[in-house]
Amino acid sequence: MLIESEYLFGADRDAVWDALQDPEILGRALPGTERLERVGGHLYAGVMVVGVGPVTAARFDISVELTNLVPPEAFTMIVGGQGRAGFIDGRADVRLEERGTRCLMRYRADLQVGGLVAAVGKPLLDTVGRNMSHKGLEAVDRMIG
């Protein structure tokens, strides 16, 4: 699943960049993340629960890695998750652009899900994916604000 979108933050670019280095705020960008901790460098680990409608038990152990860091302009986020209901593999290329005093985030994410979540939950997840990414960024925006 490819998700290509953008989000305009209230804060400026440096503030957004700094915020995303904080695992607690980064976790908010990934909705459903119950916990995210730094395990070294730009590597984080935690737990994500995808809960939507009838699906309430899709729990994943996730790892998040930020690479290709070009502060404060761009980075790549690699997310891996494994759980009883399957796996998640995602990669997002993120660019931060200045828009006056604000910051425009453009991102292009490629998400692969496998196992049960793909087999019976895919139509759900596609819709969730579209909504979730936006919701997560709104939450981050509020935290920075």
Partner: protein
């Protein structure tokens, strides 16, 4: 496809059910007709620690005529009961018509009106019909009752304003203004499937025969049932001629950004909304003409 272990209680009162949900905490889940929850349990995509079965709560069942001409239906009333109810047919013909499109008789025998409305599947027929009818849902929780318009009830994908320890207890369908007309149209892959796209319409005429309000409920085309305002804006104050119908259909479709999935692309869904809105308006119009001719 066997569910994970869970506890089960079958209270006999609304208060008992709410207590059970509250005590059960975040792992507690209310079971109505079970037509969506039980498959989710069997897939283990839902693993509640406690199921609170509402089937024993008599107070949640029944169909009642209100003095003002409206209708109140208990949330646990089986869909088949509503479908076969004369009073529902008379006072809420759109609901009766909609029921025939909801899955199959076997499922309607078990499925409940409130279960479907609270489940909030964006492709389900009944929530959109309730938007068109401007129904009001009565919710009950630890702090007592509150009434929420259907049009404010749905907030996201399978998401409603219901709190975890709150129950949808009654659905109030207001008496339609005189001369109101209704129609529902959908396209589903097979009879009884969730719709690829669907349109439920309630038209309210003004004294001069023009449209004073066109409530257009859409399903299968967003993350929740949608009350389209674009079509209403076109139709209000106009008579329902072919040009108005075509314009309203166009506006309704254009205002949408429907999702795509393995069964339907966004373009196909948007196109279906245009076609189905037109057909529903035409059918509602024909119903009026027939009635007018018949006196």
């Amino acid at each position: 496809m066997k569910p994970a272990p869970f506890d089960y209680v079958r209270p006999d009162s609304i208060e008992g059910a709410i207590d059970a949900l509250r005590e059960g905490g975040p792992g507690a889940k209310a079971l109505a007709g079970g037509q969506s929850l039980i498959p989710a349990l069997n897939f283990r995509l839902a693993q509640p620690s406690l199921l609170v079965d509402l089937a024993g709560v008599d107070a949640l069942r029944g169909i009642r005529s209100d003095e003002d001409g409206g209708l109140t239906i208990g949330a646990m009333t089986r869909q088949r009961t509503v479908e076969r109810s004369d009073v529902a047919g008379e006072r809420a013909p759109l609901v009766s018509e909609t029921m025939a499109l909801v899955a199959h008789p076997q499922i309607r025998n078990r499925g409940t009106l409130g279960g479907s409305l609270a489940h909030a599947d964006p492709a389900a027929e009944l929530p959109a019909a309730m938007l068109a009818l401007d129904a009001v849902f009565r919710l009950h929780g630890p702090a007592g009752s509150r009434r929420v318009p259907a049009r404010d009830f749905y907030i996201g994908l399978f998401e409603t304003v219901l709190a975890p320890d709150e129950l949808l207890v009654e659905i109030e369908i207001p008496a339609p203004p005189p001369g109101s007309r209704f129609a529902i149209e959908e396209v589903s892959r097979r009879h009884g499937d969730f719709a690829l796209a669907g349109v439920a319409i309630a038209l309210t005429p003004a004294d001069d025969g023009s449209i004073s309000d066109a409530a257009i409920g859409l399903f299968g085309v967003g993350d929740r049932p949608i009350l389209s305002t674009a079509g209403n804006a076109v139709l209000r104050g106009r008579s329902l001629d072919a040009a108005a119908i075509a314009e309203a259909a166009e506006a309704t479709a254009d205002a949408l950004d429907p999702p795509g999935d393995i069964h339907a692309s966004p373009a196909y869904r948007r196109h279906l909304v245009r076609v189905l809105t037109r057909r529903a308006l035409e059918r509602a119009n024909e119903a009026r003409e027939t009635r007018d001719r018949g006196g």
